[in-house]
Symmetry: C2
Subunit: 536 residues, 2 copies
């Protein structure tokens, strides 16, 4: 369905005005970015159409390419990067506190390594062009490459705690405002190895909580469930084996859709018996704390099922350990949590914040999602901000024999979502991106070589310093840089002062104006004085 040239032009005009209005209103930067992306997309469409009809030159001028990043990807400027690196280093220090190491894997894998690991989502995998040689695909997550790494190096890694923060790629429909892009960071922590039950699992949940606490993203809840309990419930309710995963993925939508919708998916799309669906509905609406576990352990049909019993026993241990680790108050045992990914085999968890959910769902877990005044369109927040679980057989899928299998448990911190929450709280413009401590300023005559000499001394002393790349810079221009870059100190030099062997050190955060002010120090005491002021 082709846009007509005129309707497209009109759309571009409207979208352009929308963007201008938002900018004028100082709207949320994420929103502006998203609307700009829409505008660019429309303009690209116009260009593509123009190029088809030979009008390319008028639209593009002399350049024959479109100046943008690929759809669903974006650049990050220095201020965004400063925030991003802060978030990463916060998370990494938690991981390291728990003894984690990092590894690195290639950004693309052999296509066949990824094949059959992601179910329906496999269609979102980016393939590399066949330019001769092996067929490769961009990694879709960090878990499958990690499992592949373990399968190759298993003899050395009978156990490892590893973290990896790296980009992954999905040909999904981008939603810029929600921080959903085609290229995005994942931040994974996994423990591989054979241990006594639930110990590693509980440490992973503890680590997830420590990360979220350290990131100061506000109140959050960790929903926990167990795949074997779910499998048991499905068996008890009469779901045929081959439908367990599809039905499980329908259940997983209960945080976004009302029961009626989920039931419809089960019965109409997935051909489940309506009675079976209703029985499932009774179970998966249950949520609570430790008392729910006690309640479930009283239900004979559950404890009689091997899977359910085994899952409930795990949960009992987990509750113990999480209490010891002091994070029990964050936990919600939620039987509707299913997690989409096929490879989970044990405990699964997912952290949500207020921002993960719509305001109406916000405060109470008791809300009746079936009520008519519930607006499902507006209910999708940023989603979970951390998630994971146990996956005991994934490494085995790559191993040539049973001995090659290594059970794993892990968590992924949703760094992109965390970032989009944090970016709502801070003023990006006021973020100091560079770390310059001292700006070397000449009050007259330029004094380029003297400024260079002083900077060189500062660098050699490990002090972060800059000077203006001009022979004769204006004084005001130099002060403006200090202001713009939030540089705390200036070393100010003049011809007379240099002749007398002194320089002036000025605290640029003080409100003294103009070229005056500051403290005269002997040239050869400059470094000592600056170090003192910088607390070095």
């Amino acid at each position: 369905m082709e846009e007509t040239k005129e309707s497209l032009k009109a759309k571009i005009k409207i979208q352009g005005e929308k963007v201008r209005t938002l900018k004028a209103q100082n709207a949320d930067p994420n929103l502006v970015t998203a609307e700009v992306a829409v505008l660019l997309e429309l303009q690209n469409l116009q260009k593509r159409q123009a190029s088809l009809t030979g009008e390319e030159s008028t639209v593009k001028g002399k350049n024959k390419f479109t100046l943008k990043t690929p759809k669903g990807t974006r650049d990050y400027n220095e201020k965004e990067m400063a925030v991003r690196e802060k978030v990463f280093s916060t998370i990494i220090s938690v991981f390291k506190k728990h003894g984690a190491v990092t590894i690195d894997t290639p950004v693309f894998e052999l296509k066949e390594i990824l094949a059959g690991k992601y179910g329906e989502d496999s269609k979102l995998i980016y393939d590399l062009e066949d330019q001769g040689g092996e067929k490769c695909s961009l990694r879709y997550d960090l878990t499958v490459p990690f499992a592949r790494f373990l399968a190759i190096n298993g003899t050395q890694y009978q156990n490892i705690k590893r973290y990896q923060i790296a980009k992954v790629y999905r040909r999904d429909q981008p939603a810029m405002t929600k921080g959903r892009l085609r290229e995005f960071y994942q931040c994974d922590f996994d423990v591989a190895g054979v241990f006594d039950p639930m110990i590693a699992d509980s440490e992973v949940v503890k680590i997830m909580c420590e990360c979220l606490d350290a990131l100061e993203i506000g109140k959050y809840t960790v929903k926990i469930n167990h795949r074997k309990i779910l499998d048991g419930i499905f068996q008890i309710c009469g779901v045929p084996d081959e439908k367990i995963r599809p039905i499980s993925s329908a259940v997983d939508k209960l945080d976004k859709l009302p029961w009626e919708e989920v039931k419809r998916e089960m019965t109409e799309e997935k051909n489940l018996n309506p009675d079976t669906a209703d029985r499932i509905g009774e179970y998966v609406k249950l949520k609570g704390g430790r008392e729910l576990l006690e309640q479930l352990l009283q239900m004979q049909e559950l404890t009689a099922n091997k899977n359910a019993k085994s899952g409930l026993d795990d949960m009992a241990l987990l509750f113990n350990y999480l209490e010891i680790f002091g994070v029990l108050d964050k936990i919600l045992f939620d039987l509707s949590l299913a997690r989409g990914l096929d490879y989970y085999t044990g405990v699964i968890y997912e952290a949500v914040t207020e921002q993960s959910r719509p305001p109406k769902l916000g405060d109470s877990m008791q809300i009746n999602q079936n009520s008519k005044d519930f607006d499902y369109e507006s209910t999708v927040g940023v989603g979970s901000i951390a998630a994971g679980g146990r996956y005991d057989n994934l490494v085995g899928m790559f191993a040539s024999n049973k001995k090659g299998n290594i059970p794993c448990v892990g968590a992924s911190i949703g760094v992109e979502r965390v970032l989009s929450i944090l970016l709502q709280k801070i003023e990006l413009d006021r973020v100091k991106a560079n770390e310059v401590e001292v700006y070397v300023i000449a009050v007259a005559d330029g004094l380029l070589e003297d400024r260079m000499k002083i900077c060189s001394e500062l660098w050699n002393a490990g002090i972060k310093a800059e000077f203006m790349y001009k022979n004769k810079p204006k004084l005001q221009a130099q002060f403006s840089v200090c202001d713009r870059d939030q540089i705390p100190f200036a070393v100010i030099i003049g011809r007379d002062e240099l002749n007398r062997g002194v320089v002036r050190i000025k605290d640029m955060r003080s409100k003294e104006q103009g070229e005056g002010g500051g403290t005269s120090v002997k040239r050869d005491e400059m470094i000592i004085e600056l170090r003192k002021r910088l607390g070095k």
Copy 2:
């Protein structure tokens, strides 16, 4: 409710036929995907059952994938990563000392952005498969994406000092031993903006030297030349304009090939007049320090050529500034340095170490490369370990008008080569990859929950700690972990001690053997004592 083996097999057959039929009918792709998912589910179920009944091998035999990373790529284990991150952080602190910020760009760009930027090497670019939508390629370097970034965001970035450390991709013939891979890190620092001449250029050279000093890779030399001087020389010698770049790239090989070979390339492959080649040969054999500059400034044919004169004037400024920055002793003015990349327009430089060159070329610059006992096959070392130059027109290639151009100067630290040099010096096995400070050990009874409690306290106090994921670990196994992971301290607990409210802290680096030794401290003074010992 277990499927029988036979009923499952039958189901798989039927489902397989369903999928084939749908595909043959060109059915709705979503439907096909859904049915394929069911098929995969059934097959997975079969595999799971087979693995339970010990039939794994026959089924697995069908797994046709090769367990490896794609050609020219590799994994990095935790010890390699520890070394790598040390190198990166060393370099980044130098960059930050000079006021640099970092940005991030996508790993792939629109194909047309990269087109026409890399000359003959364009064939090495990785393309993404056309899965609908835009045509994209993996980035080949970080310079072109940076230029593209500036062209898009130019109004905000009339000047910026940025660094970027990220992976780039080239479908080159891999040479693992020399650290040449298809996926490798580049580490770039560039200064963009209009400034007075050679100031930024000299700071970039200074930064390059500071990085190499901080990395402690040993003695190195920075070869410097100027594209305009080369262009002037080629004009003076009579090289036709259209042959200047090809001849330049031949000259660039003089560090690896003898003059005869280079001359042959010029005259036979590139059809240059042999007399012209010989005249070039006279110039490009010149190398030296500041005195060479003085010598060249005396040569009338050079100063009469506009290009050469302009280049020589730049070099004079550069020598001044590099002296002020205290790095003149590292510099070698080398007229044979040409640098392959087309986009350089001014000063160019390249740092080499002993390891960059073969032993025979090692110590003396005066060696006669034409001598017969010179073994050219063995002469290729790791190559230059840092390089860069001025490129004033690259951003302009993306800009819609002249105003959009931004001149740039930069350097790239060859981190992969630096790493391969450093890895020759260290014993990788002895690198401590994790940062654990305290291991919590039980002498008897397991005491799992007590170990967990103590670890939790340590984590909450910011101390890096681990314990063994076993209910009843053996004492010797716990000691072995301390040894293997070079963990400096242990907190040792026993039932009696816990009852008395004490724990033992033991320095694991001391040579006391067995479970004895260490200092008893009150349980509630444990953190204080450990902090003291850790110097926190």
